[in-house]
């Protein structure tokens, strides 16, 4: 029996050990922290080809200047970024530096997943008034404004030309006249081009609700009722009936595409709702100068638009990072240094740091200059900034898209869809 056991154990253990040796290979060895400044930072962002290149270049510049910091890039796509981040955070392997969005900052911030940046030397002293608070959750600065943007409609003037339709006056158009314009473009532009690509999302819903005196979210939770959304679903259906927007199936296929693959980018749509900073990527993809337009109002008067400035994205750090000081140092450099600003320019939005903005303004491409001017111009049209969605609110756009698809496919009536939509948004917040 003794022989049996010994042979058994050694034989079994040998194979097991070999297997476990293989098992321990998972990642390249991560550098140890400890020594002053040396670090291995996992850096995650979502982007498009233009942003990916800028970011990679900026990373290279930083590591050149700080040779004891290694940065591992994790580029991604917006639609799948959040699932991945959630999984990583749950597994205690969140990236050290995280590109964050207003939709999720409360979710992560309130759960203690984000580092208090102010405690580690974050520098927002030169930031323009009002652009710092959006990154504060429960009094802690968990995100630093990476750029300012605003919701816009981007338009391709070449397609307007092709259709022999005049560019609209974006200061006076309404939701209805936009629909007419979209329908006209679809009819006249030919070769399968539609007037408006993806347009109906949470940003436009927010604008619509604000113009009716409501909000998406308030400090107390959901800021609207089913009755407020019924006209929205009716409007979506109206746009489709007028053929101003593509079919439900085409819209479904658009979801999840990166910016440079969308209809506007590939010349299949004349207009599309985007954030102002995305105009650069779209101009590159479409091969022609894309114009920035205001979204419509109910009254035909742009000052009634209730527009707002948004932190296009924010820089956060994981609360479990092994290198808090180095992570914050990187973020500081990103938003405050001329070097980084000169590489990224305004692709992530207009820099919040006023000195930096002044410095790069002359260097902006015509497209970005127009965007920066636009942002300054719409000051009179602003209304109070919307509140950050509470935890569970980040899914609102996905939920909205689902109900819109149902309505567009004729599987639900506006009234039903509106009621169910509000119920679901509310129940998502409870968790």
């Amino acid at each position: 029996m003794a022989v049996n056991r010994r042979q058994f154990l050694t034989g079994g253990l040998a194979v097991a050990a070999a297997g476990m040796g293989l098992a321990a290979c998972g990642k390249g060895s991560s550098g140890g922290g400890g020594a002053s400044g040396s670090a291995n930072l996992q850096f995650a962002w979502w982007g498009n080809p233009v942003r990916n290149k800028n970011t990679t270049d900026a990373i290279a510049a930083y590591t050149k200047a700080h040779p004891n910091v290694k940065i591992s890039p994790q580029p991604g796509e917006f639609s799948t970024y959040w699932d991945k981040l959630a999984t990583q955070t749950a597994g205690n392997k969140a990236p050290d530096v995280i590109q964050m969005d207003m939709a999720y900052i409360a979710e992560y911030g309130k759960r203690g997943a984000l580092l208090d940046l102010a405690k580690h030397g974050a520098d927002t002293s030169k930031f323009v008034q009002g652009s710092v608070d959006s990154g504060k959750i429960d009094g802690k600065l968990v995100g630093i404004n990476a750029g300012i943007n605003t919701p816009t409609i981007l338009a391709n003037p070449k397609i307007f030309e092709q259709a022999k339709v005049e560019m609209p006056d974006d200061k006076t158009w309404t939701w209805d006249s936009l629909r007419e314009l979209g329908a006209e473009l679809t009819a006249k532009a030919g070769s399968g081009i539609v007037g408006m690509g993806v347009f109906f999302g949470d940003a436009m819903l927010s604008a619509f609700l604000r113009q009716h005196g409501k909000e998406l979210f308030t400090a107390n939770g959901v800021g609207f009722e089913a009755a407020d959304v019924v006209p929205w679903f009716d409007m979506v259906l109206g746009y489709q009936n007028a053929k101003a927007i593509p079919s439900a199936a085409a819209l479904t296929e658009e979801a999840g595409k990166s910016v440079d693959q969308t209809m506007l980018a590939v010349g299949k749509a004349a207009m599309q709702m985007q954030w102002s900073n995305q105009v650069e990527a779209l101009t590159k993809a479409a091969g022609t100068e894309i114009q920035v337009l205001r979204y419509p109002s109910m009254t035909g008067n742009a000052t009634d638009r209730k527009a707002w400035y948004k932190a296009s994205m924010l820089w956060s750090a994981s609360s479990r990072t092994k290198y808090p000081d180095q992570a914050v140092a990187l973020i500081n450099w990103w938003v405050n240094s001329s070097e980084c600003a000169n590489i990224n320019l305004a692709e992530r939005g207009v820099p919040a740091n006023t000195d930096i903005l002044a410095e790069i303004s002359p260097k902006l491409s015509p497209t970005q200059k127009a965007m920066a001017t636009f942002i300054a111009d719409i000051k009179p049209e602003l209304a109070p900034t919307p509140v950050a969605p509470p935890p569970g609110g980040g899914k609102l756009n996905d939920t909205l898209t689902r109900y819109q698809t149902d309505v567009l496919n004729g599987r639900a009536k506006s009234a039903d869809a509106a009621a169910k939509f509000v119920d679901e948004v509310k129940s998502n917040l409870k968790s």
């Binding site: 058994f8 959630a86 999984t87 759960r111 296929e253």
Partner: protein, 318 residues
């Protein structure tokens, strides 16, 4: 013997007398040490990887657990929430349709082809390989990617249809009416695995039964229903049970084809996909655990129904 008949016959060996019982127990303990030593890895796995997590998951289903913060006891709240959760009902509906449409169709096709192949064909092994290959590749991400392209608006399927003059411009996977059907089709495409099992079973049916029936002048169809089906019924049963259990757990294809969303309109929101969304996407591990237990109950219920119904149609010839 298959897993199923094993389970059905487990309790056959009861000793009769006291003496027999004592002898049995002595014999049963003969290799205790060696037995448990050999069994050790499996036992460790059973408790650490299976039973422990099973019990932990039961506990977690009564908590609100985001993984980043500690679990908070909320009693049956997760379960009551499931009652009102419309997306959960949709996920159940989608999964039920998937399971109860694709499994019978797949098995019927597998049986039909197996019967066809069993009737003295040349090139049997060629056909068997060709039909079996898809089920080997089918579970992979690569095939799901292919399927996604094939059933897109300008994918292979529509291109072929256009060749035949059909004006095919539907995006099958972006239309809530058809998206699930593409996944059902993918499952049926993988009929090769049950087919091989049926083939093996068919080969074991003694030829003398068929010869006797032929002598009696029984037509082909009768031979099938009166000889083939009954004798094959344990294997059909085995396949049915395992395929149903497997189909309830499908994940990869739905995930890849819908990009993780269950789109369009949640028409491809498989139960496991919704579980993944809730647990790993929305920090609701407690809810995901409750959903998982509901799945266990559902699968156990259907398996039990299967076993119970098997009394009426499965024929063991011993």
């Amino acid at each position: 013997m298959s897993v199923i008949s094993e389970l059905s016959h487990i309790h056959v060996e009861h000793p009769q007398s006291d003496e027999d019982r004592r002898a049995q127990r002595k014999a049963a303990g003969r290799d205790n040490k060696a037995g448990y030593l050999f069994l050790l890895p499996w036992l460790v796995g059973l408790f650490v990887i299976t039973i422990g997590p099973l019990l932990a998951s039961l506990y977690l289903s009564f908590t609100d657990y985001s993984l980043i913060e500690a679990p908070q006891w909320i009693g049956v709240h997760n379960y009551t929430r499931m009652l009102g959760d419309e997306r959960l009902h949709q996920a159940l509906k989608v999964t039920f349709i998937y399971v109860f449409v694709s499994v019978p169709l797949q098995l019927a096709l597998a049986l039909a082809i197996a019967v066809l192949l069993n009737q003295g064909m040349r090139g049997l092994s060629f056909y068997r390989s060709v039909f079996y290959l898809p089920s080997m590749l089918g579970a992979s991400v690569a095939i799901a990617v292919l399927w996604r392209q094939m059933f897109g608006t300008d994918g292979l399927i529509n291109q072929v249809l256009r060749l035949f003059g059909v004006d095919a411009h539907t995006g099958w996977i972006s239309d809530p009416r058809y998206a699930l059907s593409t996944l059902i089709l993918l499952h049926i495409w993988q009929f090769g695995s049950p087919m091989v099992i049926f083939l093996a079973g068919l080969r074991q049916i003694p030829a003398m039964y068929y010869e006797a029936a032929a002598v009696d002048g029984a037509p082909r169809w009768r031979r099938f229903t009166k000889i083939t089906l009954p004798l094959l019924s344990p294997i059909i049963f085995f396949n049915l049970v395992l395929q149903i259990i497997g189909a309830f757990q499908s994940f990869t294809q739905a995930f890849i084809v819908s990009n993780g969303t269950g789109a369009p309109s949640d028409s491809t929101l498989f139960y496991t996909l919704y579980l993944y969304q809730r647990g790993f996407g929305q920090f609701e591990m407690g809810y995901a655990a409750a959903m998982a237990w509901l799945l266990v109950v559902i699968i156990a219920a259907f398996t039990a129904i299967n076993f119970y119904a098997s009394k009426y149609w499965v024929f063991y010839d011993d």
